[in-house]
Symmetry: C2
Subunit: 471 residues, 2 copies
């Protein structure tokens, strides 16, 4: 991509501005349409190479109301949160343009330059690979990403440092790097070349060209309007539905046995959740009335509500639909140490697949996206514990009936539940595909038969203990 | 309010649950309606008095999908951000219920107990008064607030501490208070009595009654459905439109004079913005084409885009309309040190008043709400600089025409602009009322005549310098 500079031509400024504004409005008009997209512009580079000026000039050429600019000092990649977490809330909605000064790449660079335990090349490259996979997932989910590196040769940088206004010196020291050190300059150049081969490189020495090159790259990115494929390319290979889903059988536990065992286990689970140094994410999927709520109640029995958060996942809101489907989960994972999900991101390959809310291409791609998402969590001090609660069709009918007959449980049963029941086999098939594709080594699925509630609850608590340290 | 316990009766548990669920659904159904509201439940009290248990029990009685629970450790009130800032994003949308374990009051208590420079009683009371005013503003904007204190006598607390499970000890030390110290216990009781006279007090000793009392208070709060008044009570006293708005006259500045002066001033403004230790908020209001964008451009001329944030305020989104109108500004003030607003919260008393988006009661109340909001900012190391750009009707017509004739400026002019122009006098009247009511001593309005752009820009920069330290 670095060769594009050779064929670069300055455009008439007013034409450039008109074209940019038209492209902005065209982007805005894609909201809610099939070709909807948004654009993220990652801006990075050598200090004083003119990133700021180029963005300021861009603001003047475009309609500034529809260009969001965000800048934050770099964060250390310390393995405590996925690299995308600090930026999750700035991933724009359809029709929006977001400039990110600094991004996961500046965090990576900064970490590699500063860390007391420096990142070696192989870990560095591993980060870059994961970042690119994340960007590809964004693109597939209608968020285009363009990456622009503002470069400046060593001598030009030194000259600009000589000429800097005194009041700006503080600002330029903010990032904690010493731009007077050639050793450091060389180290940055060496490192950034490990990831910039799919970036646009802008030569910051030529000020007139610099701003135009930047703007023209963005114009090109805006003009490129993707057609999102709907149909998947190959034939879908449906997995066989495992027997445990078809006939979830289990022994019955007597109340006299259950009560003391539950008491002991919920105490142990609370202790283990408290002492495990990692964040814990527990999620439940399964048919309606399979006992998700009841199981959650027993997990938190000995915890204080201030120690955990329960997310009950319903249909997404409109503003959530305008972003990648994982987006609404990113923000929910930014907080408590113990997060419990009553339904989860797997909705993409269950209800959204079955009801047609996601196209075949979308849900078929989602397995890998979800796996990457969970691996990012796991690599950042998080335990992911996944349950499928398997109920038999007869037992579900009995529970539905009981709910309808109990005043304070009636809210738990709606027409949707009966409709879902009619699609019983579709759900089993979708679940089978889900297990086959997302049952990873460090985030395995636990299928729990729940016709006998007591047995199920005990099994769930024991399973959690097994996945926790000291459990 | 403390006497309500005497008449307290236990309800049948299932009836209580059904009533709570019905009330939840009724609340949900108010979304977008005239009687729409949401509910914030502030939960506070003595350690081990059973706050957590009561909330957990509540979760079991209600439909947990529509009960949000948030808990965060207390923050120190250090005068760097308004007390409501950490909680702004948890103010619920219409139809939602939000439990806040800990709130501005726990921050106040915690600050008073811990601060190296303790808060004296008069400052404490001042905080309480401001918190109550904030809650009243929330209520007026459809967010009901109920406050519940879980109390526990000294001896009962000591007994519970004796019986605590070992794994919970860590958790109960989280808030950094020593509940074994009677001196400290007494201090907390003395302090909390300075604000709990409009709280519900629940006696944590009686566990059976405790959870029911809590739930019944919430049931009552949900059942109380306000009718939001639309018509204001008295007759509105319209202020006279000041002459400067009617005939904004000014001398013309020659380009030869303007250029060097602009250069000098924008340098000085950048320096002053960088060195002033306070956060700076600059906002612009005024007729279309009055030069807001151009003025902002000159303010940031010598700054890097990473040093400031520009918020261009358009019509609120749907999810913003479901919350108090100031809500969308709270979140925007949580970030950069230099925030510039191209239009602002004053939209409430300008466009929303004129177009009827706010009822008379709402916009007439807004002046005080805005004044309180700005004072909260100012008391927390923020400078608020407010500009009204005054253009003459003829000059606006000329600029509209010029915009329509210039390709890259055409996006700046829409049918809305022409329609607003027809309401010229309404805007002048609304502006006159706004000046009269929100021109406070430490957040004064600066009215700048802008028919001559050069003079206007110079005057704006000089005005900013005057309000800044070292300016």
């Amino acid at each position: 991509m670095q060769s594009q500079n050779q064929e670069f031509k300055l455009m008439d400024e007013q034409k450039l501005s008109v074209d940019l504004i038209s492209a902005q409005y065209a982007l805005k008009d894609t909201r809610g349409q099939k070709n909807a997209k948004s654009l993220v512009i990652l801006v990075n580079g050598i200090e004083l190479a003119g990133k700021g000026e180029a963005v300021k000039q861009l603001r003047e050429w475009v309609d500034p109301r529809y260009l969001l600019v965000k800048a934050d000092p770099p964060q250390v990649l310390d393995g405590k949160q996925p690299f995308w977490q600090p930026y999750a809330r700035f991933i724009p909605a359809e029709g929006q343009i977001q400039v990110l000064f600094g991004s996961w790449y500046s965090d990576l660079l900064s970490t590699a330059m500063h860390a007391s335990h420096p990142i070696d090349d192989s870990l560095f490259d591993d980060y870059v690979a994961r970042m690119r996979a994340f960007e590809q997932d964004l693109k597939n989910n209608h968020v285009d990403v363009i990456k622009i590196w503002f470069d400046l040769p060593w001598k030009a940088l030194q000259k600009r440092l000589d000429e800097i206004e005194p009041s700006e010196i503080h600002w330029h020291k903010l990032h904690g790097l010493n731009w007077r050190s050639q050793k450091q300059y060389d180290a940055i150049q060496r490192l950034r070349q490990r990831f910039t081969d799919d970036w646009y490189i802008i030569d910051g020495e030529d000020e007139a060209q610099r701003d135009q090159q930047f703007a023209q790259h963005i114009l090109k990115a805006l003009a490129h309007c993707p057609v999102h494929p709907v149909k998947a390319s190959g034939r879908w290979k449906q997995e066989k539905v495992p027997l445990v889903l078809q006939k979830p059988a289990q022994e019955q536990l007597e109340k006299a046995e259950y009560k003391p065992e539950l008491k002991k286990l919920s105490r142990k689970v609370a202790d283990a959740l408290r002492t495990d140094p990692r964040r814990v994410v527990i999620l439940f999927e399964g048919m309606d009335a399979a006992g998700k709520g009841g199981a959650i109640k027993r997990i938190v029995k000995k915890l204080d509500p201030r120690e955990y958060e329960i997310h009950t996942i319903a249909a997404p809101e409109k503003y959530e639909l305008r972003r990648p489907y994982l987006w609404r989960f990113w923000s929910k994972l930014n907080t408590e140490d113990i997060c419990i999900f009553d339904r989860s991101w797997y909705g993409r390959v269950l209800v959204e697949r079955i009801e047609g809310f996601a196209t075949p291409v979308e849900w078929q791609r989602a397995y890998d996206e979800i796996n990457r998402f969970e691996q990012d969590l796991i690599q950042n001090e998080t335990v992911v514990i996944k349950f499928w609660l398997a109920i038999s069709k007869d037992e579900q009918a009995a529970r539905f009936k009981a709910r309808e007959e109990t005043a304070h449980k009636r809210f738990k049963i709606t027409d949707d539940d009966w409709r879902n029941r009619e699609r019983w086999n579709d759900y089993l098939k979708a679940a089978a595909d889900m297990f086959a594709r997302t049952n990873t080594e460090n985030a395995p699925w636990h299928v729990i038969a729940t016709d006998d509630k007591y047995t199920a609850r005990i099994e769930i608590l024991r399973t959690i203990l097994k996945q926790l340290k000291g459990g």
